[in-house]
Symmetry: C2
């Protein structure tokens, strides 16, 4: 039987991860026992949260152990099943990480219907990133028609959905992204009213020009200087869903920045801001609403998505390093095997 492959965490990165922080190793393809099934990975999702799993700093989740398989969600195909309810050829969403094959008891799996959409979307617009955008924007951000919604990492898997849902709710969507290509895509393809390039200098002034009526909702994905440019523009009663802080994930110490904590809390007080952190799993109850709404919007062409695909599991470490640098353009995916889907 052909050998499998897996990617382990070799060392906890200091600052930006290096390829030597990962270990790519062959593995035998496992055999499913009684009540088990064998999965073959088709797609692996790469996401910013993976950086924090490589670290043992305190967080809401357990870190990956040194020598452990890197954590991640995959779309996988059932190769063999000793378990009722699963048959060879089924496509499932699986949490079995950076490996070409896995044995499962089926409990953590969710079946995917390939007839509804390309199966890779279960890792993107119809998966965790899309759900993050949906719940964070609608339940925390609560945009109203005519308001201005700003989202950072606007061409990414989460940000692109945030802005498009904001528009569907009648709000004005303004993106922040890195580089002219991404900004053009956000405006021309996704239909945002504006997109500001945070690499082009003088972000505060250009963001202000793009938001003449201030900011009512800021969907926070990045932290750092982008966050600091946003705070002075927040309107009274603005809502700030805090979803990520990718600009700081590789930081070896927290950046000092210009904004002092007491300035932020003064802004919270005088402008009656609402800052609320969330993790997608906090909103599990919204999953049926999300799938109903967003799959319809995707079908109707009202929400577009873009995938950035690398081929081969051995390319995953380099791709994650690039993702943390903002080098990806769209939802970052690794095509681990070419199946029927």
């Amino acid at each position: 039987m052909a050998a499998g492959l897996r990617v382990l965490l070799a060392a906890r990165p200091v600052g930006e991860p290096k390829e030597s922080d990962f270990c790519i190793e062959d593995m035998p393809v496992p055999q499913p026992g009684a009540g088990q099934l064998l999965l073959r990975t088709l797609w692996l999702s790469l996401d910013p949260y993976m950086r924090s799993r490589m670290s043992d700093a305190p967080s809401y989740a357990t870190p990956v152990a040194i020598g452990g398989v890197m954590e991640g969600r995959t779309v996988s195909e059932v190769v063999a099943s000793n378990r009722d309810g699963f048959a060879a050829g089924d496509i499932v969403l699986s949490p079995h990480g950076w490996q070409t094959h896995a044995v499962s008891d089926g409990k953590a799996l969710r079946k995917i219907d390939p007839a509804l959409a390309p199966v890779s979307t279960a890792l993107g617009v119809l998966g965790m990133p899309g759900m993050t955008a949906y719940a964070g924007l609608l339940d925390i951000g609560q945009p109203k028609a005519g308001e201005t919604v700003v989202v950072s990492a606007a061409s990414g898997a989460v940000g692109s959905v945030v802005g498009q849902i904001a528009k569907l709710k009648g709000a004005r969507a303004v993106g922040i992204a890195g580089g002219p290509d991404k900004c053009r895509y956000v405006v021309e393809q996704l239909g945002f009213e504006a997109c500001v390039d945070h690499r082009a200098g003088d972000l505060p002034a250009r963001l202000k020009a793009a938001c003449p009526k201030g900011i009512d909702v800021y969907f926070e994905n990045v932290g750092g200087p982008v966050f600091e440019a946003v705070v002075p523009l927040l309107n009274n009663f603005a809502r700030v869903p805090v979803c990520g802080q990718i600009a700081t994930y590789n930081a070896t110490e927290m950046p000092a920045g210009e904004l002092r904590t007491s300035q932020l809390t003064r802004a919270i007080l005088t402008k009656r801001l609402n800052l609320r952190g969330f993790i997608v799993t906090d909103f599990a109850a919204r999953q049926p609403d999300f799938l109903r709404d967003v799959s319809a919007w995707v079908r109707e062409g009202r929400i577009k998505y873009r995938e950035d695909v690398v081929d081969g599991l051995d390319k995953a470490p380099r791709a994650l390093i690039g993702l943390l640098r903002g080098e990806n353009f769209g939802k970052m995916l690794v095509r681990v095997a070419t199946g029927a889907h």
Copy 2:
């Protein structure tokens, strides 16, 4: 007719206000015209927000003009009325500021029933400070039975009510106050489970010892080092009503502190905190609930209050300076005149 007195803003303070930033001047007692009434001030409320009205830094409210009468709420007696619905001897809550007398058209007044409670409580436990505590704690803080609620400035007009309502809701109330007398009062008289003296050194360790199960609600009145000691102790899903920042009101520049903005936003993200600023007027719709609940609790002895009274309007500047230093002990009031109440 006896002369009146008023206190004007003479200069915008730099740092801590000085007595020379105020101007105390005689004034003729005004005469009410048609449709007007003449008020005599019995009680003037002194509150921390007054410091920001003395400054022209951007805020949610208009500053007092140089040469203008200092802003403030009073409990006043109607001396003469040319207006239907008001009669001499009526007691009213009035926004007419730091002066012994005022003429009013009656529109901004609210009648007070002296039979229900001492009229001074309309400036404290049954007034704006009590309402601030009630709405901020219940609508934003949302304490649940068994949770730990921490409030700073715990012996003050707002903080004392926050902790007592928290206890009525089955939560564990922990205060932070300045000095052993205030801390003893908060525990022994108000019934908080603990109170930590922020002047006694090593606040982080002593606050942690007082909150062995972490902090679920932090009602923020002070900012600065107290806020920084609280943040690491906040539990997942903690709520932080941001009501005031008195430690910074006299600051000529924002204190640098130890906590960086990006550390705060990381805590917001990973612990799914909810920080929300508010001003009591945002919750005007809750006024009937507040008056019903808190006046009942005061009557039943379940909420206690303490007043710190100085006599004479000319003592108001010094008393406000002391309030901003935390020298008051309980709700700060100026007895401007001795009426029937």
